[in-house]
């Protein structure tokens, strides 16, 4: 089968990878065909945390997110399997209890266990939750790795649609597909990247707070990604001072060494989401729409890509498909 994929963000690249792995010929079309700041996956945290996400999402996210870790490992070889540590400041201890109640796959850790997991946080927290089966990756490196492998497998990347008809068109344009998917909305997220050589973390750390939830993902060599706001707005572009203030003050509360960090980068984009914040596959004639990954671009794109490939190969109606015509 010859498949044309519109959009070379995480959704398009994952579908291309899945189809190429099954022996199909793929061509990706994107005005910016290389991974870059135009795509919202560029700004992602890269946490592969299906259990933590279950705290505030539909059950399908955890069910389908569990396979993402192996998928990314298989296709990029760059997954860190060190789990997730969830912490809270003493005043917000209730948040930790609630988070633990509403998620699985964790054990409670005390001060000693926290110090063993993350020596730089020793003495700062007396209790937390540890999710040993979770993982993380560096999104930009992962997208580059997919692209390299796709090119090696004969996939082609185009700024404009090439001549010749494809058997099927897969529309994975993210928020740009609002022209065809009117129930798609943007949910703004803001992030920043710090260099803080004084501090070393082995795994993503989530700091629970009733108003300012923060996560910090280590990128290695003293670099950390901080994220991310969730605002019901489709505004893209630069971050606001308030969001920066909130994220930095939360990071400073996690460890004061972040106060001396250098700000390498800030960014904001709008995630494509449907009203229940779950992905959708929609088939309209020769076009298959795959969209709505919300804040789960890296967590759910493997499952959605598999569903898309299954559907194209054998006409199955997968779980996230709500329209066939």
């Amino acid at each position: 089968m010859r498949a044309r994929i519109l959009g070379a963000g995480v959704m398009g690249m994952a579908i291309a990878t899945e189809l190429a792995a099954r022996g199909h010929q793929v061509e990706l079309v994107d005005p910016e065909p290389a991974p870059g700041p135009h795509a919202c996956s560029w700004w992602a945290g890269g946490m592969l945390a299906p259990h933590c996400e279950a705290e505030s999402t539909e059950k399908a996210v955890e069910r389908h997110g569990l396979s993402a870790i192996d998928w990314w490992d298989r296709h990029t070889g760059a997954v860190s399997r060190n789990g997730t540590l969830v912490l809270t400041l003493a005043r917000d201890r209730g948040e930790l209890a609630r988070f633990g109640r509403r998620s699985r796959g964790h054990s409670t850790v005390d001060a000693e266990a926290i110090a063993k997991l993350e020596p730089d946080l020793a003495g700062r927290f007396t209790s937390g939750l540890f999710y040993p089966d979770e993982a993380h990756l560096a999104p930009r490196a992962a997208l580059m790795a997919l692209r390299e492998r796709l090119v090696a497998q004969g996939a082609t990347f185009h700024t404009w649609a090439p001549d010749g008809a494809a058997a099927v068109v897969i529309d994975a344009r993210g928020l740009a597909a609002r022209d065809a998917l009117p129930d798609l909305r943007g949910v703004r997220g803001e992030m920043l990247v710090l260099r803080c050589p004084d501090l070393s973390l082995s795994r993503p750390v989530r700091l629970l707070h009733p108003r300012i939830p923060l996560y910090i993902v280590p990128r290695g060599e003293g670099v950390f990604m901080l994220g991310a706001t969730m605002i019901e707005s489709d505004r893209r572009g630069v971050v606001t001072a308030r969001s920066l203030l909130e994220m930095l003050s939360a990071a400073y509360a996690l460890h004061p060494a972040f106060g001396e960090a250098v700000v390498l980068e800030t960014g904001a984009d709008a995630r494509p989401a449907f009203p229940d914040n779950l992905p959708r596959l929609r088939r309209r004639g020769a076009t298959l729409y795959a969209n709505g990954l919300y804040r789960h671009g890296f967590l759910l794109s493997p499952a959605v890509a598999r569903m898309a490939a299954d559907h194209l190969e054998s006409d199955t109606i997968p779980e996230f498909m709500d329209e066939v015509s």
């Binding site: 539909e58 909305r185 009733p210 489709d234 914040n277």
Partner: protein, 254 residues
């Protein structure tokens, strides 16, 4: 049913629209509770929230835009004007935050902003404390509804100063009064309604519950029960643990 600025609403429950896991969960909570009014924020969305606002307008409740996130008179007034254009309503829930951590209202700026907005034709729902003087000033500048807190926003601590809220009710017997913020449980909502409050406004208790629709329904039932109890003129409690007259010699078994 409560009447605000000559408009009768369908329920004494007012529900906020922030912090839900998804718009779908929000809609389910509204279907379960059928609140009369939905509050909605617009300050942080920077003009990019049309899709979400469209969803909120489809919830079937009257829209009350708010100035959440505003810390000064100027910000609040600007946000109110934006809200009037976006939602085509003169109603504005006026929040002017005085303390970033507790989100306590800045009552001085609140009175000033309420004066400016009322003069400008707005119908103001001020988020205030239960202080009688502050509330009196708000009424003086034209507010015909008061929304004192039960406890700080998002705390779920319930009715912190029951005496103060009862005193406020007694001082403004004919003014619509709403307990806004701090409601964590249905019992808190019922308590406010039993005191004779006209409505309660809550958000976090439903949005952050494990089952938002279930909690929304519980809140609606509590509001209804509390109101019915108030109208039924409840009995006065009598504390027999502290007898004021000697019992011996009285015909206490007669």
């Amino acid at each position: 049913m409560p009447v605000f600025y000559d408009i009768e609403v369908g329920s004494a429950l007012m529900l906020g629209t922030a912090q839900y896991p998804s718009p779908a969960v929000l809609a389910e909570a509204f279907r379960a509770a059928r609140p009369g009014i939905a509050t909605v924020s617009l300050r942080r969305e920077q003009g990019g929230g049309q899709d979400f606002w469209g969803l909120v307008q489809g919830l079937g409740a009257k829209i009350l835009p708010n100035t959440a996130g505003c810390h000064s008179v100027k910000e609040a007034v600007t946000t109110a004007h934006m809200a009037r254009e976006l939602f085509n309503t003169r109603w504005i829930k006026l929040e002017v935050i005085g303390h970033t951590d507790t989100l306590q209202p800045d009552v001085f700026a609140l009175v000033e902003a309420a004066r400016i907005l009322t003069d400008d034709g707005f119908e103001v729902f001020p988020y205030c404390t239960e202080d009688l003087t502050v509330c009196g000033r708000l009424v003086d500048v034209g507010c015909r509804v008061l929304m004192p807190w039960g406890a700080p926003i998002g705390s779920g601590l319930g009715i912190n100063n029951a005496w103060g809220l009862r005193a406020l009710r007694a001082h403004f017997p004919d003014l619509p009064l709403v307990v806004d913020a701090g409601i964590g449980l249905p019992s808190h909502a019922a308590e406010a309604m039993e005191m004779g409050y006209d409505a309660v406004l809550l958000n976090t208790a439903v949005a952050k519950a494990g089952d938002s629709a279930g909690m929304a329904r519980a809140m609606a039932l509590a509001v209804e029960a509390g109101r019915a109890a108030f109208l039924a003129d409840p009995m006065e409690p009598r504390d027999m643990a502290a007898p004021s007259t000697p019992v011996i010699g009285k015909a206490f078994l007669a």
